[in-house]
Amino acid sequence: MKILGISAHYHDSAAALVIDGMPFAAVQEERLSRRKNDAAFPLLAIEWCLDHAGIGPEALDAVVFYERPMLKFDRILTCALRAFPRSWRAFPKAMKNSLGEKVWVRGVISSHLGLPRRKILFTEHHQSHAAAAFLTAPTRRAAILTADGVGEWATLSIGLGSRPPDGAASITLTRELRFPHSLGMLYSTFTAYLGFAVNEGEYKVMGLASFGRPTLVNEVRRLIRRTPDGAFALELEYFEFHTTTQRSYSSRFIDLFGPPRSPYDPIDLETPEGKRFADCAASVQRVLEDTLVDIACALRRETGLPDLCMGGGVALNCVANARILAESGFERLFVPPAPGDAGCAMGAALYADRIHFENPDRMAPDHPFWGPAVDGSALSKLAREDGQSCNEMTDAELIDRTAEDLIAGRVVGWMDGALEFGPRALGHRSILAAPHSAEMRDRLNRDIKYREEFRPFAPVVPIEVADRYFELPPGGARLARFMSGVFPVRPEWRSRLAAITHIDGTTRLQTLEQSMAPRLHALLESYGRRSGIPVLLNTSFNLAGEPIVNRAVEGYSTFRRSGIDVLVAGRTRVVKSASSATRKEKIACSRSVAR
């Protein structure tokens, strides 16, 4: 059976193809269209998934959209009516936005793919999150917790998943919190207040939080009241996200926390203003963590199960995940590589396969590499055309040379095999560097990633030696598989791992099993033999404001425009020539223009 899952129209569009119960292909639209957080209907992603499988749309048994559009429209309309007459500006915008394409999803899919309407199905948004988290995790029975900004109405759901070895899988969401009471919206409101882009800058708030102290926790708690049943409710007079499109916080919010930060002003952590913003971030982070830990503790008591699967955008908060693992009583916490809306494409397809069509359950491969593969020969061609130094070599030679490059302090663009599905670079589209000095962190932030100096970098380490360098609690290595948890660097290694040790002594670790990415694992071992520490700095292969690279040509253009010294794609290695990307070359180009 061939089932296509689609997520689209809000942020992070994606398509995923499931064939005979197994994930076959999945890719975010932004990786192909090259528009960051592309929310458009994912035609390119669908086309690639079908091409990769060698089938046409007519071969699909079903296409599953990741949420119910009319239910979402119901929420938007109801909220506009509830806020009458304050919503008069927001109402026309919301209607135009919804009525243009978003509520006609069945027709849109049917016309794009030429499929009969009966083949088009809809899951609920949080069902898709739950399926993406549970049906891809190596567990038979688990509690499920999904949390995000909002789906149709639900903002946080809990339930149970079961996959008996010889029976049908089931996912039962038992209760939920409904819009506007949303942990995701609380965090996004602070994201906007702190001058970062909503749906994109939340991880900056998490990074900034480490620089502050949670001195404003009591103020944040005034925004979010705990209800007697263990849930929470937002005090809506502090928010405007449910009534306007202009801003998400109200004047009362500003009275409580002070003036918001201008997105154009840099954060200077030496100034009282900068410290206030860091304290705000630390305080909302603490409240988010406390709330999630309480809910997870109750869920553990209620289910008695050892495993928890988490999905939704809130599950990208690695600091909260680590606290849930440490304090909730769950022994294992599974967060998929794409817990956000993109992952819902995979979740929707798997949900339809297992639950709707009642196909037999199968364990999905436990890796994130479902996208297009990189072609090293394409890089060779590009590099030679541009007169760059380029070699093709055996795997062993390439790994040794790359390890030597890293030892010499060079920054390496690393492209290997199939593209990751999800927001993290987990070793197939990564920028790698030596993790030992703070200068390397500053260089990467300044010359390569062009981003704020407070942003931390993550390490990758072979799973078998991870415990030597990092304080991993039971279940920590699993949570770190897809870089979903933040753990302390052991104090004795912090000075030698300065580039990846955050100000609070922690790091967002990736533990790598050899079977998941054998070449990167070999590189770590080779680097470890030379340096004594088999740990590398691993950051996503992209520049600020751009999606992670996909093909060799995109890696190459990123390499040319940034301070990356060496580029590896497949078995091809390109070293940046000394004159490359300088004014001199521009003059040379100008001369050839004149000729």
Partner: protein, 245 residues
């Protein structure tokens, strides 16, 4: 063109006189330049021509630098103002930035068509930026930003034209005319869409204050009765995947 520039001078003087508007416009220009830079990176990635690839990458880097120049100056202007002075009409239609790449589908264009488009877009931006520079006698820092950008625009105009002649020696004039017509058509579409948006917004606002009033009242009453905290999920709620609701 010179006559139009002279005629528009009082309008531009008025637009650029207000510091808050000036700051916000520069920030808007920064966004447009950054977007244009990303489109040029894409152009470099899709072209099969190695020389064009290098030129587009240089051009993209220039656009990123312009974005940073505009962003810094715009932020500095706004920072110097008291909070209450920060709002106001931005007048984007009357004094545009380097628009033109906004609705471009890079992957669908051949090198010649893209170069023609880039050339005309740079030319139009250079004319606009020169007008803005001329009315900014009293703000030497902003004027200096435009002067620096204009130096690059001249280079961009030259290289795009000479490359157009190189890649399409027989048809470069046709391509330029076709692009001019396409820009006119896109301008008309932008105008028509804006007009349609205003009309539909008006109709929806009228509906909001007439038809929706009783529903608003009912929705408010219903909201008051809605319990907070956990809501049970009915067991059969998500059982059918055929429904959109």
């Amino acid at each position: 063109m010179e006559i139009i520039r002279i005629l528009l001078r009082p309008l531009h003087s008025w637009i650029w006189l207000d510091t808050a508007r000036r700051g916000r416009k520069l920030l808007r220009f920064a966004e447009i330049e950054a977007d244009g830079g990303r489109d040029l990176v894409r152009a470099a990635e899709v072209t099969p021509d190695p020389l064009l690839r290098r030129l587009f990458l240089f051009h993209a880097r220039d656009e990123q630098r312009h974005a940073e120049l505009f962003r810094r100056r715009g932020a500095a202007l706004l920072k110097a103002l008291p909070g209450s002075s920060r709002s106001g009409l931005r007048a984007d239609w009357l004094a545009p930035g380097e628009r033109g790449l906004d609705d471009l589908r890079i992957e669908e264009l051949k090198d010649g068509a893209l170069l023609a488009f880039l050339h005309l877009s740079e030319k139009s931006a250079a004319t606009d930026f020169a007008s803005y520079r001329d009315v900014l006698e009293r703000d030497s820092s902003t004027r200096a930003v435009f002067e620096e950008v204009l130096r690059d625009e001249a280079y961009h105009m030259n290289y795009t034209l000479s490359q157009l002649v190189r890649v399409s020696p027989e048809h470069h004039r046709v391509l330029l005319w076709r692009t001019r017509l396409s820009r006119l058509w896109k301008g008309y579409l932008r105008l028509a869409l804006a007009l349609a948006s205003v009309i539909s917004g008006l109709i929806l606002t009228i509906l909001y204050f007439t038809v929706l009033v009783p529903f608003g009242y009912l929705a408010k009453r219903a909201a008051l009765q809605e319990p907070t905290g956990w809501q049970p999920v009915a067991t059969d709620r998500g059982s059918s995947l055929d429904r959109q609701y």
